[in-house]
Structures are given as C-alpha cells and as structure tokens.
C-alpha cells in the first residue's frame, strides 16, 4: 500500500549567476537544474479535464483583495497569476525576463524610456482585445489607485513613473522621471498584470472583491468569497502562454476550487486522505507533516521565496541597545542558523545564507559571515562593556541587564529557540506578544529592538519597501533601521541599483548592499523563507513561478 516516497526538490541555485551575464553559466544552471521542474514523464500523456481542489492558507482577513495592483498577500497573488497575464515572465531558474504579452522591448540608454512591442492575438475573457491602450490604461489606473490609496503595494513597482503612450496598437512606451531598473522585472509580476478596460471602470474596492476582474489569463476568476475560497474555470481559446510553461494552448484543468483552511493539520490531513489535490501552506510543513505526506504517496515540493529572507530588522534609534553595532553583530553571531533550520523545519531545510533568499536575483552567499560564533559574539559584547558577572545568566553594563525586545504575534517554537540561543551568550531576548493591530503604535513608540518584516519579489529592490523611508510601508521603521550614515549609504545603494541597467553593474551594487546589511547587522537573517507544497498522487505538471507562486496552467490530473 505504501508507495515509495517521492520528494522532488526544486532547489534553486543562486540566480545571481545571471549577473555574470555569461551564456555558458546559464547552460551550467540548466544542467544543474535537471531534476527540478522537468515534467513528470512517468505519468503518461496529460489528461484534459477535471477539477483541482487546492487548499491553502486563508486569504488576508484584514485586506481581502484580489486586485493585482493593490494586494501583497502571497495567496492572493498566486490566484492573480492564473487569471491575469503580464507583459513579461521571469524564468524561475535564471531570473531572466522573457516575453509574454510583450514579444520584445527596448530600454533607452538613460534607463528612462521602456518601449514594449506587444502580441496582436491576445484577448481578455470578455472578448475585448489586448492592445497598447490596455497597457496605458492599466498603468494610468495604477496611478489613480495610488492617488486614492497612497502606499498601495504596487507603488514601489512603478516608482519614478511619469507617463505612458500607445505609439500604435502593438507598441507602448513607458516614460520614467527617475531610472527604475527594477521595472522590467516588475512587468513580469502579478502587481503589474494587465486587466481589461471594464475592470478599471470599477472602484479599487470593487476590484479587491474581484467582481469585475477580467483578465487574459489561462483561467477566469468566477467567484471570490472572502474567508471561504475562490472558483476559477478554464479560459477557452487561451493561446499565449509564455515559453516558461511546459505546454501551449488551453490549460488542462476545467476548473479549480480553492478552499481556505486555517488549520495546518486539517489541510495536510485532507490531502493525505484524498479529499484535496494540493496542500499549500504559508509556514513550512513540520518534519512530521512531511513524513505524513510522503507516507501517503503524495509529493513534497519546495522553492525559496525570492526577496528578503526571514530577517530581524533592528531599532537602531539613538539610545536603543541595538544602536551599538557590536551588539547587533553579536546577536547575529549568537544565532545558530543550521540548528534553527534543522530543529524547526527538519534536516533537509536550507540554511539561510544572506539577507535575501537564494532565489533572489543577485543573491550573494554570505554563509561564512553568518556562521555560528558564540565566542566572537562574547568578545564583541565585552568590547562594548556588556560583562557577564560570575554566576549571572545575562550580561550587564552599569547595573543594566542586556535585554532585547522582539514583539511577536504568537508564541512559537522558532522564537523560543532564538531566545535560548541568545541566552547562551548572555542576552536576554524578551518576546512580548502583540496584536497585529498594535504594530504601528509599537513602531511609532520605538517599543521594539528587533522586528520581523518581509515581502516576496524576485528583485532585490524589494527591500526598499522595508528599509528605504521614501518607499517604506512604515517610514519610522525604515528611519530607525540603522544609524543615519548607514541609512544614507543603504539608500544610495538602492538608487544606484535602480540607475544601473547593466546586469553586471547591478550585481556589484547589490553585492555591496548585502555586504553592508550583513556586515553591520542591519538585517539579521534567521531562516530561509521556503514555499513548500504537497501534491496528491494524481496531480502532475506542478510548476512554481519565479516568485514561488503556483502556476495552475500545466497541471493535469490522472483519471481514476
């Protein structure tokens, strides 16, 4: 009864290879990736038809939104990826941007003008044609949304946008006032996916609820019920998949039912008992759940989510304990990341190696700088005057205990382990529990020393949303993230990264950025954020997109 457990690891390699710009290296990457996303060949010919039941972590209760431009919730963006197409697509293995709705593009030498040449055979699911005007309308509507809802997520993707013009039905020109080298990658994301004109007649709130979200994707969004789930059905006549897919033409599945299941054990149990086809968790499966999934004949998939790793960001405001770089670096050295990954997520779990996850373009491996070094930590703390009295557990300085506060939303084993690891070098890590709604006031009041934040995007510029006060969701958080000199240096690197359109120059900039973040411990990585998924034995054609979302397009189910 027990099928041999299969586990396909879609382990990504440093996409930074692209930065070196060598075709030979690309070939090397392709070799190395042999077993990862190759179609399952032992399952026979793909079968057309059937309904896929996908169970995921619930939608965002605080911001139910399936509008491409506004949403940031991974589970929402995944659905958008399947009902709306983008101008370009991004290769999950290399990070390379490839044609999709745009067949090719030119970027002016000053990096201010993007010209896209579009396919002429694309239609939206309401029958209207996709043209240069559709792109202009989408970008202009994005600006209108930003006017009404300043700080909407898509904003950072179009930073510096000035205007866009349809030169002819298949040529569109996008003009920037300041260079934005991330924009090309931005055009491959769900945030800049293009909807039909009718969708932009609706208000941003209506688009969030998905009532008018007509796209050109391989599936059609039929209904979104916040808190419950989503129904999608196949788009008849779809014929413009990007080259990154395993097939062309219409999708295989007739329909997809997405159920939101909050309880991890129920989601896994439904998969292993055959009540669902795919289990898609937010937090990685536990080692026990992986064993349970594999024992049932289901397959576990994994891909690191591109963008910042699970980092702790610091409050380095004047007078705060982590304003002292020695203490910050000591915290970083005191974390045993290999033990953390193995204990919390299991022996196969990757160990974080930089401020970015390894699938992020221009990722540089900093494992050596992030090695577990309790002696080094102790020496740095001594140097800053934090001494360990005989018999004491925690270090003190002038009678004050070395206490660091990391507010968390719920008790969890990972933070308890961190607390233990820091205790070993004499740091008292306190973990006050707060409610999500209090986050803003905690930041404004400086009532934290460490705080977690992340956002998924396959471009290192994404970190501006956290650390650059011109784009950050919280200005106060960004401004306190380092001393003013370091903040200025980080912002300069971000700007330089956007100015440089040459990949190897960008690689240099982002290498410097990672060195600075790790060296000064402005970002303290804890673990690699990995998107795991489990597919039942009948499910084939599973494929992660570049941003570790699920593409439903190639999926097919073998018939009973």
């Amino acid at each position: 009864m027990s099928a041999p457990p299969r586990r396909r690891k879609n382990t990504p390699r440093p996409v930074a290879l692209v930065a070196l710009g060598a075709a030979s290296l690309l070939a090397l990457t392709a070799c190395a990736s042999g077993a990862t996303t190759a179609p399952v060949t032992d399952a026979g010919e793909p079968v057309v038809g059937g309904t896929l039941i996908l169970e995921q972590w619930p939608d965002n209760a605080a911001f139910a939104c399936v509008d491409p431009f506004q949403t940031y919730w991974i589970e929402h963006r995944q659905v958008i990826r399947n009902y709306a197409d983008s101008l370009t697509d991004q290769d999950p293995e290399t990070g390379e941007i490839v044609p999709w709705l745009a067949t090719d593009w030119d970027i002016s030498a000053d990096g201010l003008t993007y010209t896209f040449h579009l396919r002429d055979d694309v239609t939206f699911s309401d029958g209207t044609a996709f043209t240069a005007d559709s792109v202009v309308l989408a970008l202009e509507s994005a600006q209108a949304t930003l006017q009404e809802l300043p700080g909407a997520y898509g904003g950072v993707y179009v930073a510096g946008y000035e205007s866009s013009t349809a030169l002819d039905p298949t040529t569109v020109q996008v003009q920037f006032s300041t260079p934005n080298a991330s924009f090309l990658q931005g055009t491959s994301t769900t945030n800049l996916a293009i909807l039909a004109a009718s969708a932009y007649e609706a208000t941003p709130e209506e688009r969030c609820l998905g009532t008018a979200n007509v796209g050109s994707g391989p599936f059609v969004l039929d209904a979104y019920t916040p808190g419950e789930g989503i129904d999608l059905s196949k788009r008849a006549g779809y014929a413009w998949a990007s080259e990154l897919n395993d097939h062309q033409g219409e999708a295989y599945l007739d329909a997809i039912r997405i159920n939101y299941v909050a309880e991890d054990s129920v989601r896994v149990g439904n998969l292993t008992s055959g009540a669902s086809d795919i289990a898609w968790p937010r937090n990685p499966f536990t080692p026990e759940q992986i064993a349970q999934v594999e024992a049932s004949g289901a397959t576990v998939h994994s891909r690191s989510l591109p963008g910042p790793a699970y980092n702790l960001y610091v409050n380095a405001a004047e007078g705060a304990v982590l304003a002292d770089e020695n203490v910050r670096v000591a915290v970083s050295k005191a974390i045993d990341r290999a033990t953390y990954a193995a204990t919390i997520y299991g022996p196969d779990y990757p160990v974080v190696a930089s401020a970015f996850d390894e699938t992020t373009p221009f990722f540089v491996d900093h494992s050596a700088d992030l090695a577990f070094d309790p002696e080094g930590a102790a020496a740095l703390l001594e140097e800053s005057g934090w001494v360990l009295e005989d018999g004491a557990t925690y270090r003190t300085k002038d009678g004050e205990t070395l206490t660091i506060r990391q507010p968390i939303t719920a008790d969890n084993p990972g933070d308890a382990l961190l607390q233990d690891q820091l205790k070993a070098v004499g740091i008292d890590l306190q973990l006050p529990v707060f409610q999500a709604a209090e986050r803003a006031s905690i930041i404004a009041g400086g009532e934290y020393d460490l705080l977690v934040n992340y956002y998924t995007r396959a471009d290192p510029g994404v970190l501006q949303w956290i650390l650059d006060d011109r784009y950050a969701g919280s200005k106060a958080f960004a401004q306190s993230s380092a001393d003013s000199q370091t903040v200025a240096a980080i912002k300069e690197l971000f700007d330089e990264g956007l100015r440089q359109s040459d990949p190897s120059a960008r690689a240099d900039v982002y290498a410097d950025l990672q060195e600075l973040l790790i060296g000064t411990a402005v970002a303290i990585p804890v673990f690699e954020r990995v998107q795991l998924a489990a597919t039942g034995p009948d499910v084939h054609g599973f494929r992660y997109t570049s941003e570790a979302f699920l593409s439903y397009y190639d999926i097919w189910k073998s018939q009973e």
């Binding site: 209760a61 605080a62 911001f63 139910a64 506004q70 940031y72 809802l149 300043p150 700080g151 909407a152 997520y153 709130e205 969030c208 609820l209 019920t225 916040p226 808190g227 419950e228 159920n259 939101y260 299941v261 909050a262 309880e263 054990s265 129920v266 149990g269 439904n270 292993t272 008992s273 055959g274 009540a275 409610q435 999500a436 709604a437 209090e438 986050r439 803003a440 006031s441 930041i443 404004a444 950050a472 969701g473 919280s474 200005k475 106060a476 958080f477």
Partner: protein, 318 residues
C-alpha cells in the same frame, strides 16, 4: 404578567445599550488609532502619510469628529440596524453579518439541541442505573467532557471521521454532513455542564418525600424519574441552558477555525485582532441580544414547569 414581560423587555434593552456602550468605550481606550488600523489593513503605517492624507482618511471614516459625537452618531445608526462599514473589509457590517450569521445560527441550534439530548440522557441514565461501576462512570463523564479542550476534540473527530473513515467532511459548509462534526464538538462541553447540573438536581429531588410517596405507590424507578422527578429537577438545568446558549458564540470561534467555517465566531476573532470596531460592536450587540432573548424565554418557561413560580404581584393584603 404583561407588566412583568414589559419590565423584562425594558431590562433587555438596557443590557443591550450597556453592551454597546461598554464595547465602544473599551475599543476607544485601547492604545491604537482607528485611522492607523484602517491603513494598517493595507500594511501602510500612518506615519508614511502626509498630514493632509491622514486628515482626508480620518474624514472619510468619520473619525475627525469628537469621540462623544462619533458615539451618538454610531448609536443612532445602530438603532436603525446600521452598524457602519468594516474598517478592514470595507463592506457594510450588515452585509457581513447577513453572510456569516445563518451558518453560525444553524450550527448553534443543532449543537444546543444535541447538547440537550446528550446531557439529559447521561444524567437520566446515571441516576437511573443502580449504584455501581456503570453509574460512577456515567457520573464522572461530565467532568471529562468539561475538561477536554474543544480544539482537541475537533481535531480528534476530524482525524477519525474525516481522515480515517472518510464518512464526513472535515471542513466547509456543504450540506448537513458538514454540520455533524462541528455540532458534536460544540455539544460536548455544553452537554457535560448540563449533565452535571441535572445529575445534582436529580439527586436532590429523588431525596424529596413526595418521591418516597410515589415509590410507595409501587411506581418503577423509571416512572418515578420521568413523571415526578424530571420536571422539578429540570429547573436549574433550564437556567444553565440559558447561559450556555449565550456562550455558543465563543464556542464557535474555535470550532469555525478548525472546521474552516466562515461564520460569526471567526469574524469575531478576526475583528478583535484587527480592532475592527464597527464589526466587534455589532457582534457584541448580537451576542448580547441572543443572550437576553434566550434568558427571557427561560424566565417565561419557569411558571409552565413549576406553577409555584408565578410572575403576578404577590400582594394580598385583604
């Protein structure tokens, strides 16, 4: 009688107003700012806005007026059944309730009915069977039922009936099957409390002299319990039942989360975490209303069960 009922309805209205006002006060005393909450839903922190943008957002939400004025406006609207618009979900609260309420109400009714049947059956059997191993097992069962956590029962039921046997769905709201496991989960602690109280009342009632008389007439133990003891023993249980119905809202929080049901319990939990004031207020008023109505019904049932309890004025000075 009419005067009594009118008085009780007046009391009920007072309770509802107090619940509404207390929620408003508590939520406004919490250390957070509704404008920040509303934007926080978008993961934008208020400090990233210019003062003008901030004021515009506050005005749009009606949060730029003094607190007492906001209170009076909200109270006035609430009296007309308009609880405003959810901060986080951006839809009218009444729409949210209309969408989420039916599932929770049905589940609660089924669960209470089941709890009543289970509780009475356990108490009845526990006091009917002769003292011994079975009786003491049955008498201890309620203590177990009260002690085991709800979520554990829920996961256990899912494990057995959904994952292993595959008889019933583990989640969602499709057909009567999806009510079975959640209703059992909610009914177990409720029935345990009912059984505990009822066993106690049975024991007391069965010691009464009129029971001895009934026995002396030659009635069987069963007949004595059904015909003579049950009505009297049921009074304290009825009181408890009134209280337990009110607590189904809290019970539904855990159950709806584990069984992935989109009901009022989950809405309450989400809204409290997000400090979504309009939604929390509507739910508190709703729960208070359910509580008040059920207890009013219980009060009115008393004289039917025990004619000695009458709600007429007891003045007879003649």
């Amino acid at each position: 009688m009419t005067r009594y009922v009118l008085g009780r309805i007046g009391q009920a209205a007072l309770v509802l107003w107090a619940a509404y006002t207390a929620t408003f006060a508590i939520l406004y005393l919490l250390p957070s700012d509704p404008v920040a909450l509303q934007l926080g839903a978008n993961n934008i922190e208020v400090d990233s806005l210019t003062p003008e943008q901030r004021e515009a957002a506050a005005a749009r939400l009606g949060l730029d007026r003094p607190v007492w004025e906001q209170y009076l406006v909200m109270l006035g609207n609430a009296l007309r059944g308009d609880f405003g618009v959810s901060f986080a979900k951006q839809v009218p609260v009444s729409d949210l309730l209309a969408q989420r309420l039916p599932g929770t109400v049905t589940l609660s009714v089924v669960a209470v009915a089941l709890a009543l049947v289970l509780g009475v059956a356990i108490a009845f059997t526990a006091t009917l069977v002769p003292r011994g191993a079975v009786a003491s097992l049955l008498r201890r069962l309620p203590a177990v039922g009260v002690s085991v956590p709800n979520f554990w029962i829920a996961l256990l039921l899912i494990q057995i009936f959904a994952f292993i046997l595959g008889w019933l769905p583990s989640m969602g709201d499709q057909g009567w099957q999806s009510y079975v496991l959640p209703a059992i989960t909610m009914a177990i602690p409720t029935s345990a409390v009912l059984a505990q109280v009822l066993i106690r009342s049975f024991d007391d009632t069965l010691d009464e002299p009129y029971i001895a008389t009934a026995r002396a007439k030659g009635l069987t133990r069963y007949d004595v319990q059904v015909r003579h003891a049950f009505r009297n023993a049921a009074l304290p249980t009825l009181t408890i039942l009134g209280l337990l119905v009110g607590s189904t809202v809290t019970g539904s929080i855990v159950v709806e989360t584990v069984f992935s049901r989109n009901g009022i319990g989950r809405l309450a939990q989400e809204s409290v975490l997000q400090q979504d004031i309009p939604v929390v207020q509507a739910i508190v008023v709703l729960a208070a209303a359910a509580f008040v109505v059920v207890n009013l019904i219980v009060d009115l049932l008393y004289p039917l069960l025990d004619p000695r309890i009458a709600h007429t004025p007891k003045v007879s000075r003649a």
